[in-house]
Structures are given as C-alpha cells and as structure tokens.
C-alpha cells in the first residue's frame, strides 16, 4: 500500500530460518558454491509443494512469460525460477563473506563516463527485481560518486550487507520512500549535487504507475524515476545484471534514457513513453534470461 502524503507499506514475507541458513553456510564452506547449490534442489522442491503462496506470487510472471505452458510445465518453470533465485542469494552471501570471488563484467561503463563528464548533474540509476541487482550495485563504487538508494527501511540491512556498507561508509546513503512525498525532494537535491539516485523501476513506492505493455499484456510501472530525471534534466541509466555462469555476472548499464517534456501532450502522457522504453528493456531481458526475473508481485494488476 502506498500514499503520496504519508505511509507506504508493502508487506514482504521473509522465508527461511536460522537453521536453514546455517545449513547453506555449512555446505558453502565445506563444498563450495556447487555444494550449496545442490542443497537448493531439495529446498526449492519443498517450497514448490508446500508454499503455494510463494508459487502463486511467481505465477503472474510465469504465465505471461510462458503462455503456452500447461499446469505441470508451469510448475517446472516456477521450480527453475526458485532455484535460480536461490543460487543468486547464495552468490550474494558468498560475495559478502568473501568465500568466493565473482567475475563481474561491466557493459556500458565507458559510454556512461562520457555522459557524466559532459554534465554537472548526477543521474538516476533505474533497476528492477531482475538478476542479482545487489551484486550489480557493488559496481557503483567504481563510479566514484555518492549513491543514494531509495529503499524501504526494512530492506536496509540486507542491502547494506550486500554492498558492504558500514556506518562509516559515506559514499552510500539511504533515502526512505516512506518519508513525506516519497523521498522526491531528497532525490532531486541529490541529483542536483551530481550524485547518483538509485530507484527500483518495478516498485511504485510513493509514485503513481502508468499503464504500459510488458510481456504482451497491460502492466503498471511507476513513472517516478522519469519525472524526477526530467525535472532535474539528467539521464536515467538502466542497471541490469545477469548470471551467465557459475562464477560470472554481466552488469549492463548501456541503456540510457533521456526523459524530457516537449510537445503538447500532458506530462503524464509524455512520461508514459519513457516508462514503456524501460518496460521494453525488461521485456528483452526476460526473453534472454527467463529465470532471472524475480517479479514476485503482480505488476499486471492495477491497484
């Protein structure tokens, strides 16, 4: 639930318990990544059979990504999606704990550097619940800019851990979308200072959503990132990551959108075009990496 003038609440059920995490840690330490991955096949089967809520949360995506699949094939896709997400969670833990090093290939960095050197303002970094976005965010440190993550306080700890942010790290800070006006003012101020503001493009938080086409169906994505960027006159850089092998991730920042208002259409209508551009980028991504899309909320349903 969200509201422009007040509280924003999206409840997220946490799965797993301390004993479960201990087992994964144990397998990771004793048998490496492959060992911990092996455990996933049993755990995910358990979730597939007994956690119907988790299954139904994935189905809105799976049904649209694999429209011709029958019931059993659909369950298989859900199972593969669970395993894929599990692997990326293990990777994240392995990265934080330092038990494993990953090869992270960054695409589009040089072009982005050119864009940044030509402008004083910062940019909006738009990401989504696809791939291992927390691992992808670690690449931000390379940009040598202050980064403001717009995220809910309850996500702080997990993301702080993923990025290795400690209380003394002054290069990354958090803007809460649950604050007044959804963190709009802080975000605009940060961009004007030349900083990076990172937002999730598939979560509304305090912003309204517009109707776009995603996976050949009407979906609702927020326009907040684009309205802020258009007002500050800065680009929106789309950040996507994909796991391409056991040890390798590709982080892509080559998609850059320049939102601006021009012409007679209302601002809302103009922003819709940019949100559609973002949805098209995601469309292309999920066509290539169908099991790395972790959209566990129904973006095709209008609130």
């Amino acid at each position: 639930m969200d509201n422009i003038d007040g509280s924003i609440r999206i409840s997220t059920k946490r799965r797993g318990n301390k004993l479960g995490f201990w087992f994964f840690k144990f397998f990771l330490n004793c048998f490496g990544l492959a060992g911990a991955y092996g455990l996933l096949y049993f755990v995910c089967l358990h979730y597939l059979i007994f956690d119907r809520e988790a299954v139904s949360m994935c189905l809105s995506y799976i049904k649209r990504r694999f429209p011709k699949a029958g019931f059993f094939k659909m369950q298989l896709h859900v199972y593969r999606l669970f395993i894929s997400q599990g692997k990326q969670l293990i990777d994240r833990f392995a990265l934080i704990s330092g038990s494993h090093k990953f090869n992270i290939q960054l695409n589009g960095y040089d072009d982005l550097k050119k864009i940044l050197s030509a402008k004083d303002s910062g940019f909006v970094l738009l990401t989504a619940h696809v791939g291992n976005w927390q691992i992808a965010l670690t690449t931000l440190k390379k940009m040598n800019k202050h980064v403001h993550l717009v995220m809910r306080p309850e996500d702080n700890n997990a993301v702080r851990e993923s990025l290795g942010i400690d209380s003394e790290d002054e290069s990354i800070s958090i803007i809460s979308p649950e604050g007044y006006l959804g963190g709009v003012v802080e975000s605009m101020s940060a961009l004007k200072n030349g900083d990076i503001v990172s937002l999730m493009g598939d979560r509304k938080y305090g912003f309204e959503a517009v109707e776009v086409s995603f996976l050949k169906d009407k979906a609702y994505f927020p326009f907040g990132a684009f309205s802020i960027a258009a007002s500050v006159n800065c680009p929106v850089v789309v950040l996507l990551s994909s796991k391409v092998s056991k040890d390798k991730y590709i982080v892509d920042i080559s998609n850059v959108i320049y939102p601006k208002y021009e012409g007679p259409l209302s601002k809302r209508e103009q922003l819709k075009k940019y949100v559609q551009d973002f949805a098209d980028i995601l469309d292309k991504y999920v066509a290539e990496y169908p099991y790395q899309c972790f959209l566990f909320h129904n973006v095709w349903e209008k609130d």
Binding site: I4, D5, L181, E186, R268
Partner: protein, 92 residues
C-alpha cells in the same frame, strides 16, 4: 510590520495559486478557487507524486528556494498558506 507581512504573503499566495494551476494537472480549477488552507496532497486539492516534483521545481525556478530538509517537508507542503510562509521566511 504585521500588515506588511500579511500583504507580502497575499502576493505570494496569489502567485503560488497561479503557478499551481498553470503548471500542475489541475483541470477546471481557477487560482481563486484554491483555498489558502486547503490540503495540497491526498485529500483536499488531490495533488499527486508528479505534482510534488513540479512544486519542488516551481519553488526553485520562481523563488530560488530549495527544500532540502524533508523533516520540515510535511509542514511546508501542507497548503498554499504553509508554502507561502516558507517562501516568505526563506526567499533570498
């Protein structure tokens, strides 16, 4: 002194209302129809997140003001009256 401030506030309120109507998605509303103490967001005038961004830009472009401390945000963006007071007290 008090009368002077009130006169200045009236000018700011009038300008603010004109700017809100011309720049925001307020359809079929005339500036004089907006009440000074009408709540801007949610209930009241019904402004949304896109309008919030626009108001921040309006404040900067027309009054040279940048709101950075959002601890004050709720008070400042509450109504035309609170916005006008903020502009009056902070304009350069």
């Amino acid at each position: 002194m008090g009368d002077n401030k009130e006169q200045e506030l009236q000018v700011i309120r009038r300008k603010l209302k004109e700017l809100l109507v011309s720049h925001l998605s307020l359809e079929d509303i005339k500036p004089e129809e907006i009440k000074d103490d009408e709540i801007l967001f949610g209930e009241g005038l019904g402004l949304d997140s896109l309008d919030a961004v626009e108001i921040v830009v309006l404040l900067q472009r027309n009054f040279g003001l940048e709101v950075k401390d959002m601890n004050q945000g709720r008070k400042i963006f509450y109504s035309v009256d609170t916005l006008a007071n903020y502009i009056h007290d902070n304009k350069k």
